[in-house]
Amino acid sequence: MSLTETRPAAAPPLRMRHRITRVVEAATTPLLPADYLDLFAPLRSGADLRARIVAVHPETADAATILLKPGADWAGHVPGQYVRIGIDVDGVRQWRAYSLTHGPRGDGLISITVKAVPDGVVSNHLVHHCPVGTLVHLEQAAGEFVLGAAPAKLLFVTAGSGITPVIGMLRNLFPVTDEGVLLRSTYDITVVHVAPSKPDSIFIDHLEQLDAAGAIHLIDRYDDVHGVLDVEELPALVPDLAERTTYACGPGGLLDALAAHHEAHGLTLFTEQFRPSFVSVGEGGTVLFSDSDVTVEADGATPLLEAGEAAGVLMPSGCRMGVCFGCVVPLREGAVRDLRSGDITTAIAGETGDEGVPIQTCISAAAGPCRIDL
């Protein structure tokens, strides 16, 4: 059948559907039909992607695994990928990225494991205060740190909460059941796990269980017992290092050292920096108005509105005193200080939502390097 023949057959139902949509939209304006449907079925197909928290399982004193039921449009994931979650903490929408700890599950749920970090607004909320039933916002799984068609001999180097994507892979390869670990995979895996101390180490029970079952060979190193790991020790710890493909997940310093080491020795390395970057908070900073391609050095006392205007950026503005919100623009990256209260607002590229964090430029000053869409 040619294309011209199929078209008339497919078009009427589509056109009909389109018409019905337009009528429904005309009946709900200025809102969208979705705004009403969301009241009753927030996880339905076609809705913004959301998930409901169905259980919180404590892992250690300061870590917990959060079980989520994703919306109907969840496209699935591969172990090792991460997901961005938007959750309201103290009424404020916060977005963070977490690794998916399980492989795809039979019940369709997904899980993340969160370690509460000191002063971590979201991680502490999730681990300690998050009520079951809470609706969170979600984006589709992302991340290239997946096994795919990986070779059979692997080395995982994980540090701190960098274990979480790796645990996702291992659980998928070696499901832990009531009757023990299912050794259904033929991978030869060594895990070098680094943590400040053993009690601080989330998932250590799982790693030891997998090690005892012969699924993996675990080499655990604790800073308080063994001292901080030097990557030059790696060949001594893992004698067959050269035969293995290395996957590493942890803080930037460790990954940089491993990259240098592996490059010098001609070894293959896949890395995942768990938290891509931190925002530095200071007084003033370089402000990039990205659409206008203008960069200005703003001090910590000058409103961004004035700094932008002085540099010729077409800044929206209103009352210039924080009242009218006519000057609100998205901060994509960086930190600003509210000149009235001194409060810091930050946006982290890749973590903060696509829409950025809306800020009032007339009462905000740079508190470090910033990027603003204008």
């Binding site: 009946a27 304006t29 009241l39 005193m321 009242v323």
Partner: protein, 412 residues
């Protein structure tokens, strides 16, 4: 009332510049305390209001599908009126003020919200948030004072056309949403400009407003009546939607009149506002240029907490559910600095505002001077002033001023 700076009983003469700055500091502290404690319960409040409003609107519109039956018509119309009032007052107005921007929820945000009203969110935010809230009650700068069609202050020169202003005000109340849309566009000013000289911005905004009005009217007067056609309820639904819009319009007009029109609220002259007005001076102007409405919790919500107009004008971006809580602290500051906190019940304030509209529709002093015995004389005077031209009116004003001076001299 005459602009504050020209009155003998200016209520701020006892305040030193230091007092005014100290007042600003104390108000800033109230503001900071609310921002400090803003959190999950506030977010839950606005989400609850949005949830209730949407469900009420859905349910009311569903009931109206059978509005051929009078009980369904009454229930549906009442529900829809309340839903529309909630949407405009407690949700739309306040969301567009940025009161809930701190939640960083793109669905409840001043930059994304569009309201169930003929005026566009964009136009409203400019004329209301930027102009009215910044230049509150400054004659010639704050167009909310009389919306450019009414005389709301003794200092505006009287003209016979103002005799009809009670009628204008009533018509404006009934079709208030269109009045606001026209006013956001500064339609009067722009229509006086020759067509080819009107700004591109005005043309673009007019286009957006017309599109908005078309969408709004299509919804209320075409789509929903057609949906009700199967039960023969098309016309009753149309009438119900018209009635709900009318009720919402009259209600919001009344609430807004109560905010700045009642007797006792000050107006300001442009020349008396310093170019570098300090935060304290700005606060003081907001305090004296607004009036509250006392009443029940339900009344406060139905007014969008604009019943706390004074608190709202001091802190337009604080969450509306918190105004009631800070009102006693604000009132205490009024007492401390010996300033008049204007408040009254809704009927009282509406009557006061309407009294002012009627009084100012007539020449200065006419209402006060008129009684049963001199009524015929007064009416013939009014006839002369109305038909006599500017010279006659200026002579009347001059004579009144001289009389006042003479009385003042006698009293002294």
């Amino acid at each position: 009332m005459t602009v504050m700076s020209k009155r003998a009983d200016n209520p701020t003469t006892h305040l030193t510049p230091e007092d005014i700055e100290q007042l600003g500091v104390e108000l800033d502290a109230i503001r900071a305390s609310v921002i400090e404690s803003r959190g999950a319960s506030d977010a839950a409040y606005i989400r609850k209001v949005v949830d209730v409003q949407r469900k009420l609107e859905l349910a009311s519109r569903a009931v109206l599908l059978a509005s051929i039956f009078p009980p369904a018509w009454f229930v549906g119309t009442a529900g829809l009126s309340v839903a529309k009032i909630l949407e405009n007052m407690e949700i739309g107005h306040n969301v567009m003020h940025g009161q809930w921007d701190w939640m960083r929820d793109p669905k409840i945000h001043s930059t994304t919200w569009e309201w169930d009203n003929a005026s566009t969110a964009e136009g409203w935010k400019h004329s209301h948030n930027e102009l009215h809230h910044t230049y509150t009650n400054i004659i010639g700068k704050d167009n909310d004072l009389g919306y450019g069609i009414m005389r709301v202050d003794e200092d505006q020169r009287w003209h016979p056309m103002y005799l009809a202003q009670p009628l204008w005000n009533f018509i404006n109340a009934c079709f208030f949403e269109y009045g606001i849309a026209a006013y956001d566009l500064e339609l009067g000013k722009n229509l006086r400009i020759p067509k080819e000289k009107r700004s591109e911005k005005f043309k673009a905004n007019t286009k957006k407003t017309i599109a908005k009005i078309r969408r709004q009217a299509t919804k209320d007067y075409v789509v929903h009546p057609l949906l009700a056609l199967p039960t023969g309820s098309a016309l009753p639904t149309l009438a119900a939607n018209f009635t709900a819009n009318l009720i919402r319009n009259v209600w919001s007009h009344s609430v807004i009149m109560c905010g700045h029109f009642p007797e006792g609220v000050e107006t300001f002259e442009r020349a008396a506002i310093p170019a570098d007005e300090t935060r304290g001076q700005w606060y003081l102007r907001q305090m004296l240029g607004s009036a509250n409405i006392s009443g029940s919790k339900a009344m406060h919500i139905a007014t969008g907490n604009l019943s706390f107009q004074i608190e709202h004008h001091l802190f337009p971006d604080l969450p509306s559910n918190r105004y009631q809580e800070i009102a006693p602290q604000v009132q205490a500051l009024f007492e401390k600095y010996d300033l008049p906190y204007v408040t009254g019940s809704l009927p009282q304030q509406v009557a006061s505002a309407w009294h002012k509209v009627v009084r100012l529709s007539l020449p200065n002093g006419w209402v006060e001077d008129t009684n049963a015995t001199n009524a015929p004389k007064q009416f013939s005077l009014l006839w002369k002033l109305a038909t006599g031209g500017p010279k006659v009116r200026r002579a009347y004003d001059a004579r009144r001023r001289q009389m006042q001076r003479r009385e003042a001299a006698l009293a002294a």
